[in-house]
């Protein structure tokens, strides 16, 4: 199974040197979206703040391809009127 790396750029930049294996890119991206949502949830619960431009970059060891997931991409903020 291919190995994917998850580099985090939020209040602290964290380059992933270990990575994790997943069956395919789609599964790795699912994992990444869940990770971003959980990190975002912690940012909200501890600091009451979520920076939508913070991002997680998914790299594959097999290709040069990079996939950028911004925190703002994986959450939906519902205004009062639409709630």
């Amino acid at each position: 199974m291919p190995r994917y790396y998850f580099d985090l750029y939020n209040d602290r930049n964290t380059v992933d040197q270990e990575g994790e294996v997943f069956p395919d890119l789609a599964t790795a991206l699912d994992h990444a979206r869940t990770a971003v949502r959980k990190l975002g949830a912690e940012a909200v619960s501890t600091r009451g703040q979520l920076v939508l431009d913070h991002r997680l970059i998914v790299r594959s060891e097999e290709t040069d391809e990079q996939h950028i997931i911004h925190f703002g991409d994986v959450i939906r903020i519902v205004p009062h009127d639409d709630a």
Partner: protein, 254 residues
């Protein structure tokens, strides 16, 4: 590979930390038979629900107890190091409500339940030591629930590293401030209830603040007091003091 007696000596050392055992008791433990088995990293040793007839002594490497969800996601519920009989309780509850997996390359000794019963029946102090040993594991488990359930990611990781360091030192595997550490981010994530991304960020945060150094299969803790404070770690729950044998604790028994 060591003889079964040399392997059992590690378990005797763990029991002797907390339980007074006379020479006959010690010899009975050293004489327990077992079959050594080697496992690769991430290999399962026992699956939840399996019926077991032998208990599992960790001789080398790191082993975890785990439970898993229907989709395969795992939560590690305990980590065991060399000298731990990681499912001694299976002697009295032989249908596993947990699994056991090797986290690193591991050697275990499988010890027949019937022999554990025999020794416990013949040596009251050994029975008490076994009972105390499983109670210590239950105490560690309770601490894990509080750690994972109520602390943020930094405190969770800090507590885990302080616990492992202290247990490694008690087991004679190195000082608590510099010990072998070969767990992957994914395993730490399963132990701490976090994602691997979060674990990596938390490790880098503790490193940047000078609380830990990780590399070359080891972890170093330059400022023990600071890491212990971060994790609210108090080693009292590890119960590392020796208790008298039942005959000395309760003279009316004899």
């Amino acid at each position: 590979m060591d003889s079964a007696e040399a392997m059992m000596a590690r378990f005797l050392a763990r029991l002797s930390l907390r339980s007074e055992l006379d020479p006959a008791d010690q010899q009975a433990i050293l004489g327990l038979p077992g079959l050594a088995e080697r496992y690769a990293a991430n290999q399962d040793i026992i699956m939840p629900g399996e019926h077991v007839t032998r208990a599992t002594l960790v001789v080398s490497g790191i082993v975890a107890r785990f439970d898993q969800r229907e989709d395969g996601q795992r939560q590690l519920t305990a980590i065991h190091i060399a000298g731990d009989m990681c499912d001694l309780h299976s002697t009295v509850l032989p249908v596993a409500s947990w699994g056991i997996a090797a986290l690193t390359e591991t050697v275990v000794l499988r010890v027949p339940h019937v022999e554990i019963f025999r020794v416990a029946g013949e040596h009251r102090a050994v029975a008490a030591a076994f009972w105390r040993d499983t109670t210590v594991d239950a105490g560690i488990f309770a601490k894990w629930v509080a750690n994972i359930g109520r602390k943020d990611s930094r405190a969770r990781l800090a507590h885990l590293l302080c616990e492992l360091g202290t247990r490694m030192e008690l087991a004679g595997l190195g000082p608590r401030t510099a010990f072998p550490f070969a767990m992957t981010q994914a395993q730490l994530a399963d132990a701490l209830g976090l994602t691997t991304v979060h674990v990596n960020r938390t490790i880098q945060g503790l490193k940047a603040d000078g609380l830990i150094e990780i590399g070359g299969g080891r972890v170093m803790i330059p400022d023990w007091a600071a890491l212990a404070r971060e994790g609210e770690f108090d080693p009292a729950y590890l119960q590392a003091s020796r208790h008298p044998s039942p005959d000395r604790a309760f003279p009316e028994l004899t």
